[in-house]
Amino acid sequence: MSQPRTIIQKIWDSHVVCQPPGAPALLYIDLHLVHEVTSPQAFDGLRQRGLKVRRPDRTFGTCDHSTPTTPRDLPIVDPIARAQVEQFEKNCREFGIPHFGFQNPRQGIVHVIGPEHGLTQPGMTIVCGDSHTATHGAFGALAFGIGTSQVEHVLATQCLLQAPSKSFAVRVDGRLRPGVTAKDIILALIAKIGVGGGTGCVFEYTGAAIRALSMEERMTVCNMSIEGGARAGLIAPDETTFEFLAGRPFAPKGEAWERAVAFWKSLPTDEGATYDREVSIDASSLEPMITYGTNPGMGIPISAPVPDPAEAPDAVERETRRKALAYMGIEPGKPLTGRPVNVVFIGSCTNSRMTDLRAAATVLRGRKVSPNVRVLVVPGSQSIKRQAEAEGLDRIFREAGAEWREAGCSMCIAMNGDQLAPGEYAVSTSNRNFEGRQGKGGRTFLASPLTAAASAVTGVVTDPRPLLG
């Protein structure tokens, strides 16, 4: 009888190509996703060495980061962004990589289009030059972000030199109460362990509350693994996973589907397998979460007061928190609810899927957004945009006074024209509240789509629960 293994170990073991003496293992990569921002220097590197892309058939591209969310019949106004997107499309054509260019009707955020088309499957190794690649872990894949040097390595060899990570079990038991969402689970985890809490680890999310989540909600959880320091985070595949994948363009068909499902069922962690670290969260005790500071670990239940930096355990952390509150322009000791906001952003690879848009629509239906607030609703892909329009969600958003935009990273990264003005406050469904992340001098409160939509209606930071029918 072999040693019981975690799903993390199983995927690792089946992708080790070889173990050269004195070096990390060569890890084979099943799927490499590329986008316009972190790939151009890697393609240049290939040209300089006269190399080809080894496996264009295991590579897929889309543009999203510097891609504007303005109507697609208009050219990209920013000449630098336009040059980058054009270079991306040219690189993909030259190296034979299938991709969704700027005007492709399926274009979208890289971590949205992969799952949407069935490219993301259980048991795979998936990388992308983007730290939110852990999103794909929702399917029971080992998926992590890499830098541009490694993008070049994978383009050239389909492999990475990689040392194994530690395993970290995140058990989320109990049942979420109404108005509390997947986003609140992950914000609560990061608040609990800190932004460096999972450094060197891969999270495996387990427990009844995780099992009860839809695939889209699981993607929200896995997406923010990196904000807890873990390069990857995954959830063992189950019937929810298989049901989501069935019939998608790249999902196996017929007999191949049966074989795939049988394999996928062998992936979950064996009884008796051990983890290097563990943490538990009781979902039934959670409230909607919101961040008050300048990293995603600075999160609190929405009714709780902003903590006093003086209570921090050491001098550097006290200074870090004091600096964060000064940047945010807020005082400790009071909850954030009732604070005026200028912008509400609903979108990003964390929260731009159908479930997220439907959640926002439940709050915005028949209501108007506050006249003081600019509200952007940005679908994760052009396919999602069409589906939302088919369901009439766009009308709900527009009639409420929100902007309904084209797909892209938008105000999550503020390098595409969508950004905060200096000093502005946003309630945002994205993943990072770093200084200037949503625009130089902009100030971000991270929250769920429900909390964001509720705050859009009132114009102040708002607990969504009283607004839910």
Partner: protein
């Protein structure tokens, strides 16, 4: 790649925890398709005021930080995005090492591939070095990768961990992609034995 040699340097002190890659280089500078010219954008929003003038009090705008090859930062340095523009900006400014109590995973890997040495020291050493540099901002440290030693201004030698393969690559100037390419036979054998779960060219999607 150039070989990484021992050196002595002044230290730029930035004792803030969780310095993320958006601070190291803001995303709006990532629209470039080149690796060059990023040193001027290092810590841009901390370094320049709203009019684009250097803030005279910011550590890398004044001596000795403007000439330092070593940065002393708070815990969990380099968290956030995977952008390799962060180590590109740091090295183009002139940094060759960053000292912290810990580094974010992706940043650490990116740094090592760009001859930027992440030096992890215990919290107690970090606090001592911070005190020494407060007392004498012109004090120098010595970084010696071969012996994995950081020598503090008072002469204390502190050993630091480095992944042995990364160390060999840095000391001997080995390029990782070259190393990977030498394993063509093993990669081909793996591919032979493991059919692709997904063929991205197999479905022609409507354009």
């Amino acid at each position: 790649m150039e070989k990484f040699t021992a050196f002595e340097s002044w230290v730029a002190v930035l004792p803030v925890d969780n310095i993320d890659t958006d601070q190291i280089i803001p995303a709006r500078f990532l629209k470039t398709t080149s690796k060059e010219g990023l040193g001027d954008q290092l810590f841009f929003d901390w370094r320049y005021d709203a009019d684009g003038n250097p803030r005279p009090d910011f550590v890398i705008n004044r001596p000795p930080g403007n000439r330092a090859q070593v940065l002393l930062a708070g815990d969990n340095f380099g968290c956030g995005s995977s952008r390799e523009h962060a180590p590109w900006a740091l090295t183009q400014f002139g940094f060759r090492a960053v000292i912290s109590t810990s580094f974010a995973d992706i940043f650490k890997g990116n740094a090592l591939k760009n001859a930027l040495l992440p030096i992890v020291v215990p919290a107690e050493i970090h606090a001592r070095l911070l005190k020494m540099l407060e007392a004498d901002p012109l004090a120098q440290v010595r970084v010696d990768l071969a012996s994995q030693t950081l020598t503090l201004p008072d002469g204390t030698a502190v050993e630091f961990p480095v992944d042995s393969f990364a160390k060999t690559c840095l000391l001997e100037g080995i390029d990782e992609l070259g190393f990977l390419l030498k394993h063509e036979a093993e990669i081909a054998a793996y591919e032979q034995a493991h059919p692709a779960p997904v063929d991205t060219l197999s479905v022609k999607l409507d354009a």
